[in-house]
């Protein structure tokens, strides 16, 4: 073993243990059972998952270790939920309307977020909210399918909607 291998092995081992513990807690939450057979199956599965994810690296600090980030993450949930409900009522209205009032198209919007995790959360939030669906993300350019494209300045209008999400996501991840 070379001099540089030590820290790497320790790093991988630490990740394995933390993933295993996280998986074990999830398993207990789902099975809610403490008999030997269930625990044995859970331990095997968690070890398998932790081993399978051994090369996956996150480039952000853990969320749980930063109280302010966690607070913004919790504050983001009801905001997102409100948008989700509004989006659903909107889509439901369009689907149930006899004349199907849609005006679909793909628009282009730029995100100001820098971190990969933040961009993923933004893209997922967009997919869940008012008539928009993320199609692709190239660098900071996001392609969004809209069920009803605004008549005027569709790209700009979409960007202004992104800013509302970015306010929270930036404070969670950046």
């Amino acid at each position: 073993m070379t001099a540089t291998a030590g820290p790497l092995v320790a790093h991988r081992l630490g990740r394995f243990v933390s993933l295993f513990v996280f998986g074990a807690l999830l398993w207990l939450a789902v099975t809610w059972s403490f008999d030997a057979a269930s625990l044995a199956v859970g331990a095997l599965l968690c070890a398998g998952v932790a081993w399978g994810l051994r090369r996956v690296e996150l480039d952000e600090a853990p969320l749980l270790l930063a109280p302010l980030r966690l607070a913004f993450a919790l504050a983001y949930l009801p905001v997102l939920l409100a948008y989700v409900v509004r989006a659903n009522v909107d889509v439901a209205w369009r689907v149930l309307h006899p004349r199907l009032p849609i005006r679909p198209g793909i628009v282009r919007a730029r995100t100001t977020l820098r971190s990969p995790s933040g961009r993923v959360l933004l893209a997922n939030s967009i997919t869940l909210t008012p008539g928009t669906l993320s199609v692709d993300l190239v660098g900071d350019v996001l392609y969004v399918h809209r069920i009803c494209v605004p008549e005027q300045d569709p790209d700009g209008a979409t960007e202004r909607e992104l800013r509302k999400f970015e306010f929270f996501i930036r404070r969670i991840f950046e």
Partner: protein, 138 residues
């Protein structure tokens, strides 16, 4: 399972009914909307909220016991995976050559050659490379 004279059961029933409504609308959208992208919109939004509400109803009915915790975990996974899957399907469909419905009003993704000619901000390309010019996100 449900005793509607109990308030918690009644709330659970109403929440599940709402979930059922959105699930039905999502299925209706799959049939009525014209192309794969619009159908994904109905499929992700309505079905995510619909399933979410039904699971929430389960949680309200049973509380945080074995079934309730399963519902919480499922809510989290549905909320995370459904938009990700929809995005993957939309992107793959476009790249496989499925165009937008003829009544659509524009397709920036096609204009930009499916992202190959995307007007990425200056500095973005350098930022995506780690130290020693290594591709971090190929």
């Amino acid at each position: 399972m449900l005793d509607l004279s109990q308030p918690s059961h009644l709330i659970a029933f109403v929440v599940m009914l709402g979930g059922l409504f959105f699930d039905v609308v999502g299925c209706l959208g799959l049939v009525r909307l014209p192309d794969v992208y619009n159908r994904l919109q109905a499929g992700t939004k309505c079905v995510t909220l619909g399933t979410f509400l039904i699971l929430l109803g389960v949680l309200i009915r049973f509380g945080f016991d074995s079934l309730g915790w399963k519902a919480v975990v499922c809510m989290f996974f549905v909320a995370m995976t459904s938009p990700t899957a929809a995005h993957a399907i939309a992107r793959a469909s476009h790249r496989a050559g499925f165009g937008l419905w003829s009544g659509s009003v524009g397709d920036r993704y096609a204009e930009d050659d499916e992202g190959r000619r995307a007007p990425v901000s200056p500095g973005e390309v350098e930022r995506q490379r780690g130290p020693q010019g290594r591709e971090v996100h190929p």
